[in-house]
């Protein structure tokens, strides 16, 4: 161990620091670059304009997720703009020598599901992707940044970007989650406590016995939404759970290289006694199934609480925030959130579109029916997730319950594809953002929650406590 104890963030940052730039920022090596169809075409265009190549095509991986229709597999797609983006990515990958997990490969999916699934996401690495939910990959002890398109260009051309180091906040959650409480509730609870900008300038280190006991998929769900609390980066120190997940995946090291890699990965974990700029501690027992009532992910309450009342706000800002949110959401101040009528149920997204999410829902929804009038869709996060669900019969269980089983993609999380809310429909959603208009209708309303809570909402037709609906105790 080094003399000075260091955090994982610090160790990974130092190992990837190339040099100091004139303005004081660091030129940081980005070992893994993930790209998709929405934020990369302009970057490739800039490369062409500047006459540049991709420096490390073997460290650049592409998939298509945001615009793919999940109910249409044959090209050309009905939407010519979606088809044009698909064609552009295909052309760019071929021209610049980038591996593309196209739909025909059987490995396509949401970029933050594909990376881990393929073993591309590894501990002690730096990852960048033109998508703010890139923090997902931090679940493996990687430092993963969401970036803009000019930075996508920078990483394509130089495998680096200009960046200043972040402060590190350790968020410790200790104890056992109560039955019916999930990783999604943990992150919604954290964001509720910090607010949507409490994490600005920080990387989050999630730790404590709750995280130690989490599966990789649960860790990914939490890291995924770090940005919703303002933190660009979130990570969990790598451990045996991490290594067990990665072993045998297509891009994981093999043979002797595997043992060497594990030894290296272990050494990246934060040293005991290292410095944190801030520490926050949460008791797992204090976390309840959590749902949002407003227009940002920090506006959350437990399922048994009432919708905030602007009259009881403690500041003018809070009052204005509640009023704006309730006007948009068309929800009554002070009423219970439980019982709010829903129109749509959405299962999927890079937050909760993994195998364990669908398994958990299938376990509870088997034999039940989606309430009349509710439109319910289940969208696997990748083709591999879809295939595994189909092997296990999960697709059938969901279909029998009344969910439409779709092909892999981002779907209704951001509605850059045909999956959209209509008018002011209210959606019980396992996704990550409840911004105004986020799900494709400018008056559409989103209530964020865990997948099992979405299932409970689907079968009752209203925001419900899954523990009561499915007799969980």
């Amino acid at each position: 161990m080094s003399a000075q104890p260091k955090s994982l963030f610090q160790k990974v940052w130092e190992a990837h620091s190339v040099r100091k730039l004139a303005n004081g920022q660091t030129q940081l090596l980005i070992g893994t670059h993930l790209i998709h169809e929405v934020t990369s075409p302009q970057a490739f265009g800039m490369l062409r304009d500047l006459g540049l190549k991709v420096l490390m095509p073997h460290r650049t991986f592409a998939t298509v997720d945001h615009i793919v229709p999940t109910n249409e597999l044959v090209e050309p797609y009905k939407d010519p703009l979606a088809q044009a983006m698909m064609d552009e990515l295909r052309k760019n990958c071929a021209q610049f020598g980038v591996t593309f997990f196209d739909r025909a490969t059987g490995k396509q999916g949401i970029v933050h599901i594909v990376g881990p699934e393929q073993g591309i996401t590894q501990p002690g690495t730096t990852i960048a992707c033109g998508d703010s939910h890139t923090s997902t990959h931090g679940a493996f002890g990687a430092i993963a940044f969401g970036i803009g398109t000019s930075q996508v260009r920078d990483v394509l051309a130089t495998q680096t970007m200009a960046l200043a180091p972040l402060k590190v906040r350790r968020i410790e959650v200790n104890g056992k989650l109560r039955p019916g409480v999930y990783a999604k509730d943990v992150i919604l609870h954290i964001i509720r406590l910090t607010g949507v900008n409490g994490g600005t300038g920080y990387a989050y280190e999630y730790a404590g016995s709750t995280f130690d006991g989490f599966t990789m998929e649960e860790r990914m769900t939490v890291c995924n939404m770090s940005i919703e609390g303002g933190a660009r980066v979130g990570y969990v120190n790598p451990d045996e759970t991490t290594f067990a997940y990665l072993k045998g995946r297509p891009y994981s090291p093999k043979g002797a290289a595997w043992d060497e890699a594990v030894a290296r990965w272990k050494a990246y974990a934060s040293d005991p006694g290292c410095h944190y700029d801030d520490v926050m501690k949460i008791d797992a027992a204090d976390i309840a199934p959590t749902v949002t009532w407003g227009i940002n992910p920090g506006q959350g309450i437990s399922i048994n609480e009432t919708i905030p009342d602007p009259a009881k706000a403690t500041s003018a800002d809070e009052k204005a925030g509640i009023e704006e949110a309730l006007a948009y959401m068309k929800l009554p101040a002070g009423a219970p959130i439980k019982g709010t009528k829903i129109n749509v149920a959405f299962l999927g997204s890079c937050t909760n579109g993994r195998l364990s999410d669908f398994r958990e829902v299938a376990k509870f929804i088997k034999g039940k029916k989606v309430a009349p009038g509710v439109r319910a869709i289940a969208v696997p996060g990748s083709q591999i997730v879809a295939l595994q669900c189909e092997k296990e019969g999960i697709d059938k269980v969901l279909a029998e319950a009344g969910f439409e089983w779709r092909a892999a993609g981002c779907s209704m999380c951001l509605a850059m594809n045909p999956d959209k809310l209509i008018g002011d429909e209210l959606c019980a959603s396992s996704s990550n953002r409840n911004f105004k208009g986020r799900q494709g209708s400018i008056t559409g309303r989103t209530v964020l929650m865990s997948p099992v809570m979405v299932a409970a909402a689907a079968v009752t037709g209203q925001v419900a406590d899954a523990r009561e609906v499915f007799s969980v105790n």
Partner: protein, 202 residues
């Protein structure tokens, strides 16, 4: 690559009130179905500027007296949410060259700086002063001085702050890092050689 030294931005200003104005609101996702950034300016704040039926709502940036404004004023946590560069691109293409807000979301701030759009922080009270002045006289020239870290308007001025690295990059004309990053290639390869996971597969 010689870039313009952005020491100050002068022009008309417009106040778009509100906190937590997210990037979906700045540029709704459906307008990102494109392979260039061309034409994004007209979709800036589109769903706030129009009713669901497409009728203009009288948003501040559409008011005739604010036409041609170069400076955008807003509240706290401006630009939160998605990493889409389409957001600052839309702001830039709509003619804005500087943003004054209480504070900015991390990724949005970086994206804007890389496009040469200074984002400076001011207190709510000070932003309200500027907003009041332009309300009274929409043609008032407002100067965002990145070098001196102040905003001047009609004989008055307020103090603003900005991260040192961003200020340095703007005033010295190195806000787009690509040239400098390319120059570091030998050191990049040296650093990469020490990281086994970067080796091409055998």
């Amino acid at each position: 690559m010689a870039l313009e030294k952005i020491t100050q931005v002068a022009g008309k200003a417009v106040f778009v009130p509100g906190n937590d104005i997210d990037t979906d609101r700045i540029i709704p996702a459906r307008f990102m179905k494109c392979v260039t950034f061309d034409g994004l300016g007209e979709f800036l704040f589109f769903d706030v500027r129009h009713t669901p039926e497409g009728v203009p709502t009288g948003h501040p940036i559409d008011k005739p007296e604010h036409k041609g404004a170069k400076i955008l004023l807003s509240g706290a946590n401006f630009g939160c949410g998605s990493s889409r560069e389409h957001a600052p691109q839309a702001i830039h293409k709509a003619g804005f060259r500087a943003i004054v807000a209480e504070n900015f979301a991390e990724i949005f701030f970086g994206n804007s700086t890389t496009l040469g759009i200074p984002c400076v922080n001011a207190s709510r009270e000070d932003i309200a002063k500027v907003a009041a002045a332009i309300e009274k006289n929409p043609s008032l020239e407002v100067v965002v001085d990145v070098e001196k870290l102040e905003v001047r308007f009609g004989g008055e001025s307020i103090k603003v702050t900005q991260r040192d690295s961003a200020r340095d990059a703007l005033v010295n004309g190195r806000w787009d890092a690509i040239g400098e990053l390319l120059d570091g290639k030998p050191q990049v390869l040296e650093t990469a050689a020490k990281l086994p996971y970067l080796a091409p597969a055998a």
